[in-house]
């Protein structure tokens, strides 16, 4: 059965169509979730896509987190549903408290738009379940505030609990411990700065992102089975 991914659309989101296309490329179905909605409906997974939600005013994600849809996303995540935040979506999830830490301006103060190599650090997450530990994925980044930071205590927890999902092979933005992506304690909420949807076809220069999108679809199926 085809799994449906709900892609949250805020004013200022700009990667939702790419994510939906990537999900379809990976064998799933996708539809948008409007920021003013109070329910995620019957979707099997949620992606908070990249962009500049609410113009990034105040801080990236600071205003978006108060959108009605975010309460529904929080409940969906609390029930074990797979949730992935990409780039600006990662910033929204940290602001919403679904993931620890924060994203600060890149070391070097440059907006970065390039492709980077990522190392898969764990397969125990909804975004990496189909990947292999140690696999190197070539995936684009496109951000100004992508420099992940957190307290020393949080970092120690992330390391001890194997919750650093992806690391940069060559750290582009100054992120602590080369972190490109992390997951929550339940391992069903993942945030990452790189854009797997932009690496979903050889036509785009890489299809290394497909394994991540397929993992999300597999996890969506698994979480449905476990919750009946």
């Amino acid at each position: 059965m085809t799994r449906t991914v709900g892609v949250v659309l805020f004013p200022g989101s700009n990667c939702e169509l790419d994510v939906m296309e990537g999900i379809r490329e990976a064998g799933g179905d996708a539809r948008t979730l409007w920021h003013g909605d109070r329910s995620v409906g019957d979707v099997d997974a949620v992606v908070v896509p990249g962009g500049f939600a609410h113009g990034d005013y105040l801080r990236p994600g600071a205003i978006a987190r108060f959108s009605p849809i975010m309460s529904a996303v929080e409940k969906f995540a609390g029930d074990g549903g797979p949730v992935v935040g990409i780039c600006n979506g990662f910033q929204v999830l940290t602001e919403a408290g679904l993931l620890p830490g924060a994203l600060q301006k890149n070391r070097g103060l440059k907006f970065l738009c390039t492709s980077v190599d990522l190392r898969v650090e764990t397969t125990a997450s909804v975004l990496t379940s189909n990947a292999e530990v140690g696999a190197i994925l070539r995936i684009p980044i496109n951000h100004f505030e992508g420099n992940y930071t957190c307290s020393a205590r949080t970092l120690a927890e992330l390391q001890a609990d194997d919750r650093i999902v992806l690391r940069y092979v060559d750290n582009p933005n100054g992120a602590v411990d080369d972190i490109a992506g992390i997951c929550n304690e339940g391992r069903n909420v993942v945030g990452l700065m790189p854009h797997p949807e932009r690496a979903s076809s050889p036509l785009l220069g890489s299809d290394d992102g497909l394994v991540l999108l397929r993992s999300l679809l597999s996890s969506a199926a698994a979480s449905l089975n476990s919750s009946g």
Binding site: A62, T94, E95, A102, Q104, L109, T149, S151
Partner: protein, 85 residues
């Protein structure tokens, strides 16, 4: 009563401030020597109605904690002053 409020949002001690560092690095090229410790923050100004100054301050502190600053990377400093009508 109405109060004028200024909230200064600053990056916490130890959090890298690339904007401040870039400004500081560029100053000697412009002929300004001896400037150090440049930090860039935000200042947010508004007025608030409250019964007294303590009440206004309480409300503003909550506003800061919930919305105006991200405690993971930012600190706030609040100034509250009664507006005389």
């Amino acid at each position: 009563m109405r109060f004028a409020v200024v909230v200064e949002v600053q990056l916490r001690e130890g959090v890298a401030d690339p904007q401040g560092a870039t400004i500081e690095r560029s100053l000697p090229h412009l002929g300004f020597d001896g400037v150090s410790g440049v930090r860039v923050g935000k200042s947010i100004r508004f007025t608030i109605d409250a019964d007294d100054e303590a009440g206004a301050r309480r409300e503003v502190e909550q506003l800061c904690a919930r919305f105006l600053a991200n405690p993971v990377i930012e600190d706030t400093e609040v100034r509250v002053e009664e507006l005389v009508s």
